[in-house]
């Protein structure tokens, strides 16, 4: 836990270059989106005050867009716009639209009808009425809408890092995956400060506005464009191939850091969520990605794993980890969970994952089919009211495992089960376990070692030579430090791996990570 002894301030100083870059990207993303949203939203808002029959549908659609979960919206964008800035900006601007359209509409509708009538009766044409009367009087309301949109956009822009658009989300999600509180705060605090700062500045601008409408109206677009242009300043270096790594992979010794120190690999890298990474590789948005060796999408998207010839990825054997108290409370639990031990090897797991990831079968069905085929499945018994709480991380394999455990517990005992699936990252899952929010979840030996225990480099070297050494080390350390027990390994090894499209790897003759390095350095 040497990283947590380091203060947040130290971390921010040490990472100041990255922090600055991410902040600039964040501000840039926010304001490009905001600028386009104003450009679309303001005229649209004005339009629906003129053509009232459209006001319902337009506000309705903008409202529905607002309710789409941000990650889902980002996911929808990938097939259309690829990854990187374009889909992020598109998604952010869709979120910013509603407050801008709605406030423009209500602002103009709220102008005293006697004033509007007077303007018309004086002989103003419709444009004069709009620019001299309606817009100036609606301005405070419209501005309030833009402020709301700004704060929303600053917040949602943290998610842009999921699709390789950068921003402060890289630190936040990297920190969550890596169990690094300083890293989370280094992303979250600047993001919050940005939201407060922009809100404050816009509020000042708004007050100015009442007195000098024209100056402020002119300043505002200039300011937005300036801030928006920030986004295009960085990222001007290139290499032949483009890599997309998860935030977790970026910060791990057995990830990008190891690739740099042990292989000396230098590649243009973007940070991206594993939910969209495989697809992006398949659609040639990325060439090299950091995947998991049992991932079903490996098969689905025709990817190939590059051989780790220098051995930087330690074994990642999966096993349920359980709180000691839970084992005492539910005496039958350990035996039940061990039913699965040794039943799933790498290829079985990949096949199961393929069914959920590519064939889109529900994890529940996949789990049940497997248990039935292994003759482990039994119908659920009556519950005695005691509830076992299962956690899982936010990817397909963990959903399947959680479902299998749930069926086994219900079939073999009288316990009831509640599942808390989709916990976003190692830190969240592990914190849930230590804080008595869940009773167990499936974890990987490598993750337990590197993300949770974080021992010295020397220890890591000595315990990662074989699968059993790693398992034994994490088992004894977890018992000592956290009173958490590692049950028997399930059987498969879901290690980190670098992957490429099969076709590209073949044509470039890249089979190992060293091959990749040699190719990148050749002219």
């Amino acid at each position: 836990m040497n990283e947590q002894q380091q203060s947040l301030w130290d971390f921010m100083q040490q990472q100041s270059g990255k922090l600055g870059e991410q902040t600039i990207q964040h501000v840039g993303l926010t304001f490009i989106s905001l600028f386009i949203a104003v450009l679309i939203g303001l005229p649209l808002g004005i339009f629906i005050t003129r053509q009232k029959q459209f006001s319902g549908p337009v506000l309705g659609i903008a409202g529905v867009l607002q309710t789409i979960p941000s990650i889902a919206l980002l996911g929808f964008m990938i097939p259309v716009l690829g990854i990187g800035a374009k889909p992020a900006i598109a998604a952010l601007l869709l979120y910013a639209l509603l407050p801008i359209i709605r406030n423009t509409y209500t602002g103009i509708e709220g102008v005293d009808s006697a004033v509007k009538e007077a303007a018309v009766a004086m002989g103003m044409n419709k444009w004069q009425v709009l620019f001299k009367v309606e817009l100036p009087l609606a301005m405070p309301v419209i501005f309030a809408g833009i402020r709301t949109a700004t704060v929303i956009t600053v917040g949602v822009a943290t998610l842009a890092s999921y699709i390789a658009a950068g921003g402060l989300g890289e630190f936040i999600f990297g920190g969550i995956s890596l169990n690094n509180t300083n890293m989370i705060l280094a992303g979250a605090i600047p993001a919050a400060l940005l939201a407060i700062l922009f809100d404050f500045l816009l509020a000042r601008l708004q007050k100015l506005n009442l007195k000098k409408v024209k100056t402020a109206a002119a300043t505002f677009p200039v300011l937005i464009i300036l801030l928006a242009s920030l986004y295009f300043i960085p990222s001007a270096y290139g290499s032949k191939l483009k890599a997309g790594f998860t935030p977790e992979f970026m910060g791990r010794q057995d990830g990008n850091l190891g690739l740099q120190t042990k292989y000396g690999l230098k590649i243009r890298t973007v940070v991206i969520s594993d939910a969209v990474m495989y697809k992006a590789a398949y659609e040639k948005q990325l060439d090299v990605i950091s995947g998991y060796s049992t991932d079903g999408r490996l098969e689905a998207y025709n990817l190939v794993v590059l051989k780790d010839d220098k051995g930087i990825f330690p074994p990642y054997y999966a096993a349920p980890i359980v709180r000691d108290e839970a084992l005492k409370k539910f005496p039958e639990l350990e035996n039940i969970l061990n039913l699965l031990s040794g039943k799933i090897n790498d290829s079985i797991m990949t096949a199961l994952n393929y069914r959920t990831d590519y064939l889109h079968q529900s994890p529940e069905k996949v789990a049940k089919d497997f248990l039935v085929s292994k003759k482990l499945w039994k119908p659920a018994r009556d519950s005695n009211g005691e509830v076992v709480r299962i956690g899982s991380k936010i990817f397909g394999e963990q959903y399947i495992l959680a479902n299998m455990y749930s069926m086994l517990i219900k079939g073999y005992t009288n316990y009831d089960v509640s599942t808390k699936t989709g916990l976003g990252g190692t830190k969240i899952c592990f914190d849930a376990l230590t804080n008595d929010q869940i009773d167990f979840y499936p974890e990987y030996t490598g993750t337990g070692l590197l993300a949770i225990l974080q021992p010295s480099a020397k220890t890591i070297d000595s315990v990662t030579r074989s699968r059993d050494e790693t398992y034994n080390y994490v088992q004894s350390e977890f018992q000592k430090k956290y009173n958490i027990k590692w049950l028997k390994p399930i059987g498969f090894n879901n290690a980190y791996a670098l992957m490429m499209r099969k076709k590209q790897a073949n044509s470039l003759d890249i089979k190992t990570i060293s091959n990749l390095k040699r190719y990148l350095e050749s002219k």
């Binding site: 006697a114 009538e117 009766a121 002989g123």
Partner: protein, 332 residues
């Protein structure tokens, strides 16, 4: 000057205005009177095309208004609203300058005209740089009037212009309104639901109900020659007061006993003396005549005929009795 022919406005099935026709002569002040929902405001707004009619035509100065661009038409018609409709983000000066700006007047001309109007409306020039919300209701309404008059349009439309004011302020503005020389050269159509106001300010009144004009006539005609019971009932509550204000002293002339003034008709020495001798003009209404008893100290007042030189001196009882005799005759 303004001619309305067969004008209708339907809102769905509702006939808000139903085939009405009337005419307003130049410099005349026509009142559209009626309860809310009778169609009077709709009628008014069809004259500057704030509302487009379903059928019918309006001519101003012989020209069909539907053949003119609505913006150009409106710049030539002053419009005063009940809630003044001043732009809250404009100063008084900017508010007054709206129409001149649309007509591309130069700044000096606009400024001069604004100052001139403020003076006529008894407002200090200090108000020019003040925002409307810093003014009282009466002051706002005067600025609204100034804004409508600034480009000196021949026609003025007024939609319940004094409706939002308290009684005292309204009385004051009524007096100013009648005295304002600018308005004497205007053809005015005013909408009101206030019977007193209609009788006080109107040369002619159109009493409307359910989209129709029930009676179009002078205040005198409405009072003493109502076409039906609706007109009669409409005025019933305030009849006495209306009569007091409608009947002029010369209407009563023949019932007033002749009584030569003291000193004889040949004795006029100075203008000042003559004023005292001549007393009240017979052109004033009966109400003002009564007020003279209230404020004056004498038992009798002198009334001089508006055309001739004849002067009559009457006391309160004589005046009242003449009034009742007149009424009796009018109703016969």
């Amino acid at each position: 000057m303004i001619k309305v022919e067969q004008l209708s406005k339907h809102f769905g099935k509702l006939k808000a205005v139903n085939e009405i026709s009337f005419e307003v002569k130049e410099h005349e002040n026509l009142i559209l009177l009626g309860t809310s929902g009778c169609g009077k405001t709709t009628t008014l707004k069809m004259i500057n095309r704030l509302i487009e009619p379903t059928h019918g035509t309006v001519f101003i100065d012989g020209k069909n208004i539907s053949e003119q661009s609505p913006e150009i038409l409106r710049r030539g018609i002053g419009y005063v609203l009940q809630n003044n409709g001043l732009f809250p983000h404009y100063t008084v000066a900017e508010n007054i300058a709206i129409v001149p700006q649309l007509l591309n007047w130069d700044k000096k001309r606009t400024e001069k005209r604004a100052l001139e109007l403020l003076e006529k409306l008894h407002l200090s020039a200090d108000y020019l740089n003040v925002y409307p919300n810093e003014l009282s209701g009466g002051q706002q309404q005067r600025i609204g009037l100034a804004r409508a008059l600034v480009a000196d349009p021949p026609v003025l439309l007024m939609d319940e212009p004094f409706g939002a004011l308290d009684n005292v302020t309204r009385q004051k503005i009524h007096a100013e309104f009648k005295a304002l020389d600018e308005l004497k050269k205007k053809t005015i159509i005013m909408v009101t639901h206030d019977v007193q106001e209609a009788f006080e300010l109107g040369d002619r009144i159109c009493l409307m109900d359910a989209g129709k004009i029930i009676q179009d006539g002078t205040p005198y005609e409405l009072l003493f020659k109502p076409v039906n019971d609706f007109v009669k009932d409409f005025l019933q509550e305030q009849r006495l007061q209306l009569e007091f204000k409608t009947i002029r002293l010369y209407d009563l002339w023949k019932w007033l006993a002749p009584r030569p003034p003291k000193g004889g008709a040949s004795d006029f020495q100075s203008n000042e003396k003559m004023e005292v001798q001549r007393g009240l003009s017979s052109d004033v209404d009966f109400w003002s005549g009564l007020e003279h008893f209230k404020f004056g100290k004498s038992e009798t007042i002198n009334i001089s005929h508006k055309e001739g030189h004849e002067v009559k001196s009457v006391n309160f009882e004589q005046l009242m009795s003449a009034f009742y005799q007149y009424k009796q005759q009018a109703h016969e």
